[in-house]
Symmetry: C2
């Protein structure tokens, strides 16, 4: 019956992000245009600033974190690393369980780690406005917060069904001064097309992305920001793992296994990549295993194809080499909204393909039972996305109980569940179910994979 | 453009609570029974354990915090003290503004500081079940969490209108294993009476308290727990101010003025009393002013009478000497649910009566505008209760701007607003209003003050 929080001082916030590209056995496969040729930087400059594109393309191991970004990080970072002693005791496992708690941020998740630098680099490039899309609202609220910090106007296209059903994330964005639109709107061609097709369209992430990109591409003072998948987003999230390494050093421990939820990949990458660096440098005290945990209903890494595909549903983006279920694939409705993505980060995908990391898929009900067990032991109610990592970590802790191994397990508690109690409510009411892997839908979506070159 | 968080280590969690009774110029006025005589401990033992009653009556300056309670505190404590440099800059004030952030707890507010020891002391006394009431759900969820930590069953009578309209706090309590009932129920006489009178009764805090007390009084294995007002609750909250003192010492500063929201009083007391101790001991580096901030629509301390009155609406509790608007007074609906109480803590009331602290009342709209300004500068979206303290602190910072004084201001950011976005939503939609002080209602309620002795 003890618990432990390992804190750091403000000075311990990393001064550089870690770029895993420098340590990959093979260079990352480049994004391709419709002609099968690598996409030119010029084309990307329509919606991203040069300083961010530099990061996107960089092979430098360490990228400096600008001091104004560190100053905003200081509003909630360093985040605590906690030893889950009460959970260990409840499980009766000899394993040691640690978690990094990112729910202490203003938006309650890890998303501001990238929203803040994206807003700052855009401000430095003279950009006045950022557009983005949001589903459940975690990324949209983080960019709203970040824009407010640096005086950038943020315009969020929020999927209509969420806009209507989740007014709280919307008011959160408004509190930070962002404008939020119910997508599809009549302000863009993509929105008007969607409305012409169906005046009562509930919207989709695909339509919202198209609207946000269209507005950004059409205005010189406006750029677009994405909350996961791309290299620079994964880069920014490495503050999580870099801090965690200092915290493990403080208590003289080091993870045998690392678990993180994986949708677009930035959550997993932020937690895992800095430890992967030790493996690459052969400076790690032990051989660590890295486990990306995804929902069984959207099992991109465990059941997808490794192929070039579009990053969005409408085919506006460059082609990326990644694990994908096909860009036409619409995952069944599960509550871990942040994990419902047909593809995955190209960096995470390549590391999996090359055998440096692992992936596992877990069923929805088992993730909620893990979240409730965690809340009852450690107090914090986790976000449904985080419950995926908790499930996999608990499963390993129970394996350790059988084998008697005292492994050190580490997972990323990427956010609190205070905005997700409706999902818990449904779980308690027995209204949630596990899903079969939708084989037919995936086969159909994979059949439409673009032909490259 | 800088910000600063002052952290402490787990070892810095206080080992003792501070009891202000030891330093009050006059002993606290005793609670009285219906006969005008001080209430006997025996009568209270029906619903409180002896170890808690000892704290309630104690005049000892320091009360030890049991190690198992400190171990649960460690799940989120010590909480950070933050310098609001970005807010200072936005205001252009020479004042220094600090806030203690209690929103990092599992329930997002300061309430677990007392829920945890209350659950533990009851468990030590062999109690198996705790009953309580809750309106918006902040206290109920904190007691649910605390009960889960020590294996105590928690039964929460939740006001029906909140039960129906705020399912999220309810699911939060269920996550921690508590049973939640829509009050009035048919399980108690008080509930059945209320339903007989009005089968469609929306419930009230008064009815819910009566139900919880009735169940606790009628079962030997069951006690009752209260979230504010009483001496032992204020005592437990002093961990806030005790930590803050260490944090101020770390940066070599000390508050000239302290602001905290004031409803039942535990929020204010927890923040202010440990600094008041320095004033009593003449060991303070400066003369500090202590400001309790209450809503203009329920201005107990600024407009109430100092008189013996019941603590609850139904007259079940002993009489307490306090500022009161009359136990029949029903405050107009404002969203800072935690501040809607007709009376106030007897300790806070007596300190105000004796001139050791001050009180100020603020209007609702001005508290939301202060909360939005804070969120836009510092990132964190505050609970509506906390916005009251922020308003008064900002007002003082603006006075400092006029006078050029570089005062050190300190307020308690008692919780985050992630469960209160509906109130922000109404504020942005222009649906919230300021309230006139309801003179006629208060005069009517005061007319029914009980006659004592």
């Amino acid at each position: 019956m003890d618990s432990l929080r390992i804190n750091l001082e403000a000075d311990d916030i990393p001064t550089h992000w870690y770029n895993v590209v420098a340590d990959m056995p093979n260079p990352p496969a480049p994004p391709l245009g419709p002609d099968g040729q690598p996409v030119s930087a010029e084309r990307m400059l329509a919606i991203f600033p040069g300083n961010i594109l530099e990061q996107e393309m960089s092979a430098e191991r360490w990228i400096p974190i600008p001091e104004p970004v560190r100053e905003i990080y200081r509003l909630w970072r360093p985040s605590p690393l906690c030893r889950a002693l009460r959970l260990e005791q409840a499980l009766g496992t000899p394993a040691k369980i640690y978690y990094k708690y990112e729910g202490v941020s203003p938006t309650g998740s890890h998303k501001p780690n990238s929203a803040v630098p994206q807003a700052w680099f855009n401000a430095q490039a003279g950009v006045k406005r950022l557009t983005t899309e949001t589903g459940a609202g975690q990324w949209g609220s983080s960019l709203a917060f970040a824009g407010q910090m640096f005086g950038i106007d943020v315009r969020v296209y929020m999927v209509k069904v969420s806009y209507d059903q989740k007014p709280f994330r919307r008011s959160m964005m408004q509190t930070w001064g962002a404008e939020v639109f119910s997508s599809p709107t009549d302000m863009t061609q993509a929105g008007r097309d969607a409305l012409a097709k169906d005046p009562d369209s509930p919207g989709s992430l695909g339509i919202a992305i198209s609207e946000a990109v269209e507005e950004a591409a059409g205005r010189a003072d406006t750029n677009y920001a994405l909350g996961s998948v791309l290299n620079h987003v994964l880069l920014h999230q490495t503050v999580i793992g870099l801090e965690a390494k200092k915290q493990f050093a403080k208590v003289g421990d080091y993870p045998d296994m690392i678990f993180a939820p994986c949708g677009g990949g930035s959550n997993f990458a932020g937690c895992a990549f800095p430890f992967l660096a030790d493996q690459a440098a052969a400076s790690a005290p032990k051989k660590t295993r890295f486990v990306a945990v995804e929902p069984a209903s959207c099992p991109t890494l465990t059941r997808g194809h490794y192929a070039y595909d579009f990053g969005d549903a409408s085919g506006y983006t460059p082609l990326m080499l990644m694990y994908t279920l096909g860009h036409d694939f619409v995952p069944p409705g599960i509550h871990a909204g942040g994990l419902r993505y047909h593809g995955d980060s190209p960096l995470v995908s390549q590391l999996l393909k090359e055998g440096l990391i692992e992936a596992v898929a877990v069923q929805q009900l088992s993730t909620f039972s893990a979240g409730v067990m965690f809340a009852q032991a450690e107090g914090i109610i986790p976000a449904p996305e985080s419950n995926h990592a908790i499930r996999a970590c608990i499963d390993e802790a129970l394996r350790c109980k059988e084998t008697g191994e005292a492994k050190t397990l580490f997972f990323n508690l990427s956010g609190h569940g205070h905005f997700d109690m409706a999902a818990y409510d449904q779980y308690f009411a027995g209204k949630l179910q596990d899903g079969e892997f939708p084989d037919a839908d995936v086969q159909a979506a994979l059949a439409s994979l673009p032909k490259v070159g």
